[in-house]
Point group: C2
Chain length 341, copies 2
C-alpha cells in the first residue's frame, strides 16, 4: 500500500493525496474524507504523512547517475546538488554504472535510506523493454522520481527534457544550408536521448533526400575519453573510400575527434570540413578552432527539475513532462548559412 | 566513547582494537583482555563490533567531494565508486562545495547514515587552521577516514597522496633544461595539494636563481571553466610589459588557456612558448598541439585508497600515509631537454 494505491482507490490524483497528507487547506472536505477513509481502511502510514507532521523527514534527495566522470553528467550533478542545497536539501549520490542490476540495487539502497525523492540523471535509466523500467515504477510508488533528459510516463514520475530531436534536426538543416550535403552523424549512445538525437539527424537528412548510405551514421563503441580511438574510427571510414565533408556529433568529445581527424588529413575547417558538437561543454572551447555546439540548457533543465520536485513534495500539482529547446552556439567549425528566400 | 578512546585507554593501536572487535586470531590473549576490559568498563557497543558479528553492516562507504563538475574530482569519484562496487560496497556521494560548514554538515549526515567509512576526495578538505580540521578527527572517532590527495596525521585517518611537490619541481627543472628561464606558474587553488605544487615550482626556480619576480606566480581566481578569462589573465600580464616564454599550470584547463594565449599572440609552440599542464586529463589531448602534462596516477591512488580502506575495515594494520610519484607525459607543448653532462 502506497501513495499511488491510495490515489487509485480514492479516485483522486497523487497530488491531492499528498495535499491531504500534508494538511493543505485547498482540498474539499469531501475529497479529504475520501482519502482519509482509504488510508484508514488500509492502515497506511506514509512517509509523506510523517513529513507533513514534521516527523521523520530526512530533507534528503537521492541522486543517481551512471558515470560521474562523464563531463555532462558531472555537470548535471553539480547543478542539482547546488540547487538542492540552496533549498535546504541534502543529496546522496549513487554512481551506478550502466548495468540495470546495479541501478536497481542503488535505487533500493536509496529507498531503504528513506530519501524524500529520487533524481535519475541521464537518459540511460530508461529502457526499451517495458519490464526493465519496473524499478522506476516501484520506486515512484514510494517517493517522487525525477528524470533528467528522459521522458517516461508513470504515476509520480516527472520528466524534464531538452528537445534533442529538434536540436539535432535543426543543426543538420543548418549545415545542409551552409552547403554541406555529405554529413556523417557520429554517436556513441543508444540511450533515450541518444535515439532522439539520431532520429533528428535522420529526419533532416531524409527531408533533403540526403540519407543515401547507412555509413553516414557512425556508431563509436570505445571509451568516451579515448579521442585518439574516435579519430582513428573516422580515418578508417575515410579509408573505405567513403567521402564526407561535415560531421554532427552526439557529444563534444566526438566533435573534438572530428576536428583532429580534419587536421590529420589537411582538411581546412570550416571550408573543407564542418563540425557541430553537442552539450556546449568545456571541450568545445578547448579545440582550435573552437567548436560550434548545441547547448541543451542543462542548468535550466536542472533548475526546473528541482522546482518541480519541490512542488511535488509540497503537495502541488506539477507538470509531468517539461520540454525545453536547445540552442546552437556558433563558433569556428561551421560556415555561414546561405540566406533562404 | 569510541574506538579511538578505547585504543588510548587500553594502550594499544586502533588496528588492534579493531582486530579484537572483529575476532581476529592474531592478537595475544593479554591484549585482547585489556581491550575487552575497557569496552566493558565503558559499555561500548561499537559499529565495528556489530560488523564483526555480521550485524548491522551497511557495506556502504560515504564519499565526499567539493565539486563533482571538476574533471579531476569527477574522475576520482568514478574510480573510487567502481573499485568499491567491485568489492561489494555501495558508495554514497555528497557534493559539499568548498564551504567548511557544508562539509561538516555532509560529514554528520554520512555518520548518521551509519556508513562503514568515509573518503574525502581532494585536498580542499584539509585546512590550515588546526581547529578547522576537528570535523575530520571527530568523524575518524566513528569510522575510518580516507584522504585522497591530502596528508593529515590523526588516529584512524589514512592518506593517499601523489608527490605534487616533486612532480612540479621536476617538471620545472625539465623546462629550465630545455632552455626556458622565464617560466610563469599559473594556479587557481590554495588547497593542500595546491600549496605543495607552488612550493615545488618555487624550489626549482630558486635552485636555479630564476625566481626574480613575484609576478612569475600568477593566481587565477575565476571559474575553472572560463578558459577565455584565464587567457585574458595572461594577456593582461603581458600587457604590463612582463615577459615570459614558458608556463607551468596547476591544472590542464589553465594550460589550455596558456596555449590559446600563445596562439593569440602568434607565439610558436613550443619554440617561442612552452606549456606544461597538470592531471594528464582529457583536456590535454583536446588542445592543438596536445599538452605535455603531469600524470599524478589518479587510478593508482584510488586503487590504493580502497585497498587501504578494506584493510582497515578488515582489522589490519595499514600504512597511515602512502605517497606515489607522478609522471611527466611529454607531448607537443615542450621542447626537448638538452642532455646534462
Amino acid at each position: 500500500m502506497n501513495i499511488y494505491d491510495i490515489s487509485e482507490k480514492a479516485g483522486v490524483s497523487i497530488a491531492t493525496v499528498s495535499r491531504v497528507l500534508n494538511g493543505a487547506t485547498n482540498v474539499s472536505e469531501k475529497t479529504k474524507q475520501k482519502v482519509l477513509a482509504v488510508i484508514e481502511q488500509y492502515e497506511y502510514t506514509p512517509n509523506a504523512f510523517a513529513r507533513g507532521l514534521g516527523l521523520n523527514t530526512m530533507n534528503t534527495i537521492g541522486v543517481m547517475c551512471a558515470d560521474s566522470s562523464d563531463l555532462y553528467l558531472a555537470k548535471a550533478i553539480y547543478y542539482i546538488e547546488q540547487k538542492l542545497r540552496a533549498n535546504g536539501y541534502d543529496s546522496i549520490l549513487c554512481c551506478t554504472g550502466y548495468d540495470l542490476a546495479a541501478k536497481i540495487k542503488a535505487m533500493n539502497l536509496l529507498i531503504t535510506k528513506k530519501v524524500d525523492g529520487i533524481i535519475l540523471v541521464g537518459s540511460n535509466f530508461i529502457y526499451d523493454r517495458e519490464s526493465d523500467n519496473k524499478y522506476i515504477i516501484d520506486a515512484a510508488a514510494q517517493v517522487p522520481v525525477m528524470l533528467l533528459n528522459a521522458a517516461f510516463e508513470s504515476p509520480n514520475v516527472y520528466s524534464i527534457v531538452s528537445d534533442d530531436f529538434t536540436s539535432i534536426h535543426d543543426a543538420t538543416v543548418e549545415m545542409i544550408r551552409s552547403g554541406v550535403e555529405d554529413i556523417v552523424y557520429f554517436y556513441n549512445s543508444n540511450s533515450y536521448s541518444g535515439k532522439r538525437k539520431l532520429a533528428g539527424y535522420r529526419a533532416a537528412m531524409e527531408e533533403h533526400g540526403l540519407l543515401y548510405d547507412e555509413r553516414l551514421m557512425q556508431f563509436y563503441q570505445g571509451s568516451h575519453e579515448d579521442i585518439a580511438a574516435m579519430t582513428a574510427h573516422l580515418t578508417a571510414l575515410r579509408d573505405t573510400g567513403f567521402s564526407f565533408h561535415g560531421l554532427i556529433a552526439a557529444d563534444d568529445n566526438l566533435a573534438i575527434a572530428a576536428v583532429k581527424y580534419a587536421k590529420k588529413h589537411n582538411l581546412s575547417i570550416p571550408d573543407d570540413f564542418s563540425v557541430i558538437g553537442y552539450n556546449n561543454s568545456l571541450l568545445s572551447c578547448c579545440s582550435d578552432p573552437e567548436i560550434t555546439s548545441i547547448d541543451n540548457k542543462l542548468e535550466t533543465l536542472c533548475q526546473h527539475l528541482i522546482t518541480t520536485l519541490l512542488g511535488v513534495l509540497g503537495g502541488n500539482e506539477m507538470p509531468k513532462i517539461t520540454v525545453f529547446n536547445g540552442e546552437l552556439v556558433t563558433r569556428g567549425t561551421t560556415r555561414a548559412t546561405t540566406p533562404q528566400g
